[in-house]
Amino acid sequence: MMRRYQEKGDVQKKAYYNDRFWVAPQIPKDPVESDEIFAKDLESLKSKFEIKEAYIQRGQMVVYIDPKDNRDVLKHLKEELAYNFLSELSAIDWLAQKGEFEIFYQMLSTSKRKRMRVKCFIKEKEAIESVCDIYKSADWAEREMYDMFGVIVNNHPYMKRILMPDDWQGHPLRKDYPLHGDEFAQWYEVDKIFGKEYRDIIGPENRDSAYVNERDTKHFARIRHEVRFGEEPSKEPTDLMKEYQEEGGVFLIKKFKKDKSITLKERK
C-alpha cells in the first residue's frame, strides 16, 4: 500500500470543514482621502517615494512601499511627519502562496494621534535593510523576525537569534514548520543534556494530551490508588491520600484542632 501523499509546503492546521460556496467578506478598505491627516501624510510620501497601494482599514492607514525604500520612508515618517514611535515590526509568511515575506512596520504618532502601517514584500532569499539606527526599538524586533522567519536583515549590529537558542535549527513561525517541532526540536533537550544515546532510555515526547495508561504507575497514579514510584498498580485503595498527619501526630508538632480555631466573619 502506498502512503498517501501529503503536501509538505504548509503544515498548518486546516479547518476540517469548508463550505464550497462560502465567500469570506472583506473588511472595507476606505480611500485615504476620507481622512484629512492621512491624506496629507500620503501626499508627502507620494512626492518622494513610490507608493504601490494605500488605503485606510479600521481607522489605520496602510501603505505599501518598495522594500528598497524602507529606510528612507521610515526616516521621512519620523523626521517630517512626526511618527515618533515604531510600535511593532514583524513579518508574515506567504511563501506557500507567493514565495514572499510581507514585512510590516506599525507606526504611531503621538502628536497626531494616528497609527499607520508601512508594508512591503520581499522574496525568500532577499534581505532587508535594518532600521534600528532610526528607531532603536527595531533592534530586537528585527532579531525576532530573523529568529522566527529567517528574514535576513542587513547592517544590523547583532544579528543573532533572540528567542530560540543559538544552536536551534529552523525558523518556527514559518508555515512549513510543524507546531510540535521537527525531529531536532523534539529531541533538543535530551540530545543536549544526556546525548543522543539516551534517546531510547528517555523515550519520545508524549504529545497526546488525552493519553491515559492505567498500568503505568511511572507517570500516572489513579486517585486513591497511589503507589510508590514504579510499583505495580494496586487493587486495594491505598492510604496515601487518607490523611496528612500520621497516626498519633508528628514528633513535637501540634495537631490542628478545628474546634479551637477561629474563623473571621469579615476581614479586619
Binding site: Q12, K13, A15, Y16, Y17, W22, A24, P25, Q26, I27, K29, Q57, R58, Q60, V62, N84, F85, L86, S87, E88, S90, I92, D93, F104, Q106, L108, T110, R113, R115, R117, Y135, K136, S137, D139, W140, M148, R161, I162, L163, M164, P165, P172, L173, K175, Y177, L179, K192, I193, F194, G195, R267
Partner: protein
Amino acid sequence: MKTPRREYPNRLEPFFENLVFDRDDNTMVINFGPQHPSAHGQLRLILELDGEQIVKAVPDIGYLHRGMEKMAENMIYNEFLPTTDRMDYIAATSNNYGFALAVEKLLGIEAPRRAQIIRTMLLELNRIISHLFWLATHALDVGAMSIFLYCFREREFAMDLMEDYCGARLTHSAVRIGGVPLDLPDGWIEKLAHYINKLPKDIEDYEGLLDQNRIWKMRLEDVGVIPPEMAETWGCSGPTLRGSGIPWDIRKEEPYELYDELDFDVPVTDSCDSYGRYKLYMQEMRESIKILKQLIPMYKESDPQIMAHAPQYISAPKEDIMTQNYSLMQHFVLVTQGMRPPVGEVYVATESPKGELGFYINSQGGPYPYRLKVRAPSFWHTSILQELLVGHYIADVVTIIGNLNIVFGEIDR
C-alpha cells in the same frame, strides 16, 4: 584515587564562559540569570564590569518562549483566549481584553454596555493587582521585605474579588469575544466598594513607609534615568513612558471601552528616574480607584445584556441555546468550526498595566488567524536595558529591572 561513578550521566560541562580571565582591558564579565530571584522571570544578562560599574550589558531572553504565536495560528479564536492569560500573568484580564477587543474590531461588533462596564471594572481591578504586585516585588528586590508582605495582603483581597467573579486567581479568562461570560455575582459590588474604600489608606501606608525612606530614596533617585528621547526611540509605553514626561495614555488618547465617559487623570512626571516612576504607579492606583468608584453607579443603571448579538460570530445566550433549535445549531458550528472573521487585518492597542499591549491579527477568512503578533510592552522595555544599564553600578541592576515592571510571559510569549 578512584573516580566516583557518575550516577547521573549528563554531557553538561562546567560553565566557565562567564569568567574570562585573560582579558586585556581589566573588565570582568559576569552572568546574571537566567534563574535569578530578582530577574522577574528568566532574564539572562551578561554584564561587563569595570570595577563595579557596568560597561556593557547584553540581555538574553527567550527562556520562556512557548510559541504562543504559532499556537494562535493553529487555534480558533475562542480557543486562543485562555492562552492570552499566560502572557502577562499578573494582570491576565488585560490580555484577554486586548485580544477580545482586537477580534471584535476585526468582526466589527461591539460589546453591550453592561459587558463594557464589567470589563472596565475588571481591567482597573487588574491594574491595581498588577501595580501592587509590582510594588511588592520591586520593594523586595531593593530590600524592603515588609512592603512585600503588606502588598501581598492587599493583593490577596483583590484576588478574592477576581475569584468571586470568574473562579480563578491568576488565569482569569474573564473576558470573552463579544462581551463577558457572566454577570457580576450577588454582593460583588458591595465587596468591591468595601475594598476600594479600604485601599487608599493602605496606599498611604506604603507611601508612608517608602516616600521619605532614606534607603529607598538612595536606591531609586537618579537611578535608571530614561530621557524622553530615549523612551521614544526605544518604543517605551505605559508608566515607563509617562515617567519620562510624555503624557501618552491610550485610555485617554484613543479611548476604548468606557474610558471616554469616565473622569480620571493621567499622572505624568518628568523626573525620568525610578523614584518618579514609583510615585507614578502609586498615583495610578488612586486613579484606578477613582474609576472603579464611578463605575459602580453605572453598573446599576445598565441593561442586563452581557454578550453582543451577532449570530454569525457569537453564540446566543445559554437560555436560547437550551430552548431554540437554531441557536443550538449555531452554537455547535461556532464551537466545532469556529467563527470566520472577514478578510483583513487589524492592529489594536490597549493600555495594559505595563504599557501598550497591541494585537495584530491578519485574517484570511478562515477559522484560524493567518498571523497573530502580540506587541507586548515588556519586550520593548527589556530591550532598553542594553542602553540603560551602562554606567550604573551593579547594585542598581535589580532596581532597574524591578522598576521597569517586566514580565517574562509576555516578553518571550
